[in-house]
Symmetry: C2
Subunit: 292 residues, 2 copies
């Protein structure tokens, strides 16, 4: 791909679009917030229209908040009309497998000459900045091949998730099941330790060195026992992502008791007004229930 529209210049999309620009790919930025588009153009020295109309565009990369925004972009804001025949629509947002499959069919109802690649990512803002995202990409082989250069700029690891739309999002939902449950498990373990009066710093160190370890424990554990000085991902993100996991499990009629229990803990944190806190602060819900 030589020219892409990058739609969604949020905390993930901005660094991803910047990395593509830095790698020599012509990036046409797009966002519902026109100021973000202008700011991106100023910083990258790219000019041109705010609302592009480029029949030479090879791909549309979408990194927005939910399926409604994906649909709005494509069909209301007309992005689907701006791609050349044979171009790829690369859906990288975290949405449900069912929504991803439906959107693929809705695209086909309007234009049959486009590819749809369902390619959500994991790795957060740090992964987006460093170009080290994990990409779970579902699509037909020709479409995945067309995306390879772009994916290699954005990601440290690219995993083929299948050839059906929805399978990339299904990979991501399995990934988020573990991420969300592991945060809740770390909060549960450390609040049990706290309730027993154990030394929490020694505990986090011990757990990280044993078979009890997880990526989330090592990353979020220290921020659970000392108030975090920065926010890397908020409680509300997991309300959304575990909500997708539970919905996906319901649709596929799968048994997911740990994901459902974890989802409810994140929702309880959010409902108390803590949705914008760092997700490590889920431990506050445990502390509340433990009378701490």
């Amino acid at each position: 791909m030589k020219t892409v529209i990058f739609a969604g210049l949020g905390s993930m999309g901005w660094p991803m679009a910047s990395n593509l620009h830095d790698a020599g790919i012509k990036v046409v930025p797009y966002d519902v917030d026109a100021e973000k588009v202008q700011e991106f153009q100023r910083r990258t020295g790219t000019g041109g229209e705010v609302n592009p109309s480029l029949p030479t565009v090879d791909g549309l990369l979408i990194m927005v908040v939910n399926a409604q925004q994906v649909r709005s972009l494509l069909f209301e804001q007309g992005m689907i009309e701006k791609l050349k025949p044979g171009a790829c629509i690369v859906q990288m947002s975290t949405i449900s497998p069912a929504d991803s499959a439906k959107i693929s069919h809705e695209i086909r109802d309007v234009r049959v000459d486009l590819h749809f690649v369902d390619a959500p990512v994991s790795g957060g803002v740090v992964g987006a900045q460093q170009g080290s995202l994990t990409i779970m990409a579902a699509g037909i082989p020709a479409a995945l091949t067309a995306c390879r250069d772009v994916f290699e700029v954005l990601g440290g690891a690219i995993f083929p998730a299948g050839d059906q739309p929805g399978q990339g999002s299904a990979f991501k939902s399995v990934n988020q099941l573990l991420c969300g449950v592991h945060i809740a498990a770390a909060a549960e373990a450390l609040s049990l330790a706290e309730k027993n009066g154990l030394d929490l710093e020694t505990m986090v160190e011990m757990l990280g060195a044993s078979a009890a370890s997880s990526w989330m424990l090592k990353d979020r554990g220290p921020r659970m026992i000392l108030p975090p000085d920065e926010i890397t991902s908020v409680v509300d993100i997991f309300c959304k992502d575990l909500g997708i996991v539970c919905e996906s499990a319901k649709q596929s009629r799968a048994y997911t008791p740990l994901a459902n229990a974890s989802y409810q803990l994140f929702v309880a944190s959010s409902e108390r007004g803590e949705g914008k806190l760092d997700d490590s602060q889920l431990i506050r819900t445990y502390r509340l229930l433990n009378g701490m």
Copy 2:
């Protein structure tokens, strides 16, 4: 410590006692199974009585299955009488914090001249064999100092858990909470993937490379998707260990929904007659509920 009684020559105790012998510590083996004791003596070239009576013993290391066996050893089989004044009783089995604290008091009722060290381990049979166990040791500083040489032979990492009996076992129960929940979470994630028809080998590889990773996922995940050719730890071990976690949480009135749900999944596996399978086979309970 120059001379220790090692009580409990099971799958953990045998390699631990062997490592101590190899490190030049005089090990008096003890087990309710006299044949195991004779076998240990044959293999190590140590002789002497099967039921020792040595007023020169510096320490009694205990690695048995439960608190009842610890009590039986000490008080019914008379081990408490075989130690010299100032010796350490080092309790390394996985028992509840409350039991450990109670046993410490029961020892004091019989002899006031002994130290009690509550020092359970993590790392399984492999850790026992390699001398790389994680040791969570609670006791007064003088007692922990006396144990240092022995611990360094047995363990790759030694963590001070506190100065009260029960605190080592409380550390271990927090550790086991995460180990058990992480096995159940891996089974839940992979069975959701399976239910969605996703490629499980790619899935395990992807999850192990992302923020979804855990030590248990990397170790047990491959054995969940391909039948394991060896058993490293059985389902019934986690029925016991998560049972201790739930009991400990109940006693300390702590909220542990994920540990309780995971405990019930392990119990369901055991109750179907699968208690002696590798613990990765917890996934069979998910498959059963998923109609797979």
